[in-house]
Symmetry: C2
Subunit: 254 residues, 2 copies
Amino acid sequence: MPTTPLFRRIDVAPAYQKVADAIEREIINGRIKPGEPIGTEQQLVAQFGVNRSTVREGIRVLEEGGLIRRDSSRRLQACLPRYNKLATRLSRALILHEVTFRELFETSMTLEVASVEGAVERATEENIAELAGNLERSAAVVGNPAALAELDAEFHVLMAKASQNRVLQLAREPAAQLFFPTTEMIVGGVPEGGARLVEAHHHLLDAIKRRDKEAGVLWTRRHLQDWRRGFEKIASLDRSVEHTYMEHAYAARQ
Amino acid sequence: MPTTPLFRRIDVAPAYQKVADAIEREIINGRIKPGEPIGTEQQLVAQFGVNRSTVREGIRVLEEGGLIRRDSSRRLQACLPRYNKLATRLSRALILHEVTFRELFETSMTLEVASVEGAVERATEENIAELAGNLERSAAVVGNPAALAELDAEFHVLMAKASQNRVLQLAREPAAQLFFPTTEMIVGGVPEGGARLVEAHHHLLDAIKRRDKEAGVLWTRRHLQDWRRGFEKIASLDRSVEHTYMEHAYAARQ
DNA sequence: TCTTATCAGTTTGTCCGACAAAGCTAGATT
DNA sequence: AATCTAGCTTTGTCGGACAAACTGATAAGA
């Protein structure tokens, strides 16, 4: 057993990884700002002194990580990782981990309550207008479960946005992505489901307007409990999201 | 303007993307289970009928997405996306979006409270033993801010684990990754900071053992408020995480 | 017999060179 | 001036190549 390390650990990361890391560093440090060009593949080849195939592998890594993207003409540029893309990846991970709807429900309850609390405190006029617009459109399609489900998801996104807390916005997204696709089944399967949903949204918006936190929390709870009751009519909370989707509408996921 | 679409949209996704999608589909569908081999690059070349460079670009995409990895001998195999890796990516996104510590703090408060509530309700003997082990080690390094900060982060991870809610575990991770690196600065900068931290953990563990939700929530709040007071001595809650790290310890990020 | 050394075959990481398709640019044309 | 066109650039893909690392099996040594 050697006692005194004479040499430091040799860096054996493959070249494509080093390329990716090098570019990532520049972006994270802010030396390359979102929207700014990274350069062509040929330029990167010249700068890093590696083959174009190697550069391209590095580019794929960053692209998938959301740090760079290609603009309309396919040139590389740095970009702000979109919550949505990352959240999609997380949602997938949750599915693979076979989480249950109970876990999803519990966490969503926590996050949506936090979301509405933030919205009550800090929603701007613009936020309120957006929510009102959504509510109006929702009321118009109360009999159409698919359209209503989509607007419901949007309503909650807008609420998170109104909380002015981007960390919260991000944190709620993965769960929401798995949670809300079920809304369609539920609204469609419960008589008056659509009307109840719109009513809840109405009260939520009202609470935000009146800056009434208690009412906001109350209606969020009711809204989600409604979801839960509806869900339990068609499936068990304790089965995995994966299996439940398999049996219901998951095939429609494009 | 054509009125009747004669043809459907042609799929023009690049080949490497199709390769990635095809493999991803098999994994998500469960036809390839985590741990199972994907095959060698040569085999994939044969199956997809594309060049090895193309296959390799597709592999990079999946690797970065956490869906496949290479085992000890660098062979490809499907895997369960690790929360940690995904969370790291999200943390990075949060930094780039220049979120503030106020957003981080608020959301962490919500999630840590939910975490302790879950732990109080559902922690197993094993969870409690792990927490106790952590607490013991923490008490031993109360004067060493770096070591203590690391154990603090671990304590909260263990608590989330004890909640038995994987969605929550995942949701709290990105914020925690940004939140906890500051602990070291704070514990080091506040007299008795280490002792207070260990005391809070002690009460938290005690609350979980006694299944006392109220105490758990109370001490979580105190614990985080302590962090906040300490933080405000060295920086402003309303500056971005990015800038704050820049000025303090971010350079040490490897 | 059990261990060690050797050696051929795979597999990955990297490189080189090449080409078609799509975008861009700038000069030529109307 | 607006449009068109031809040439250049860039990306996506391909084929082939080679060194290093790893595998597995066989031969040599204790």
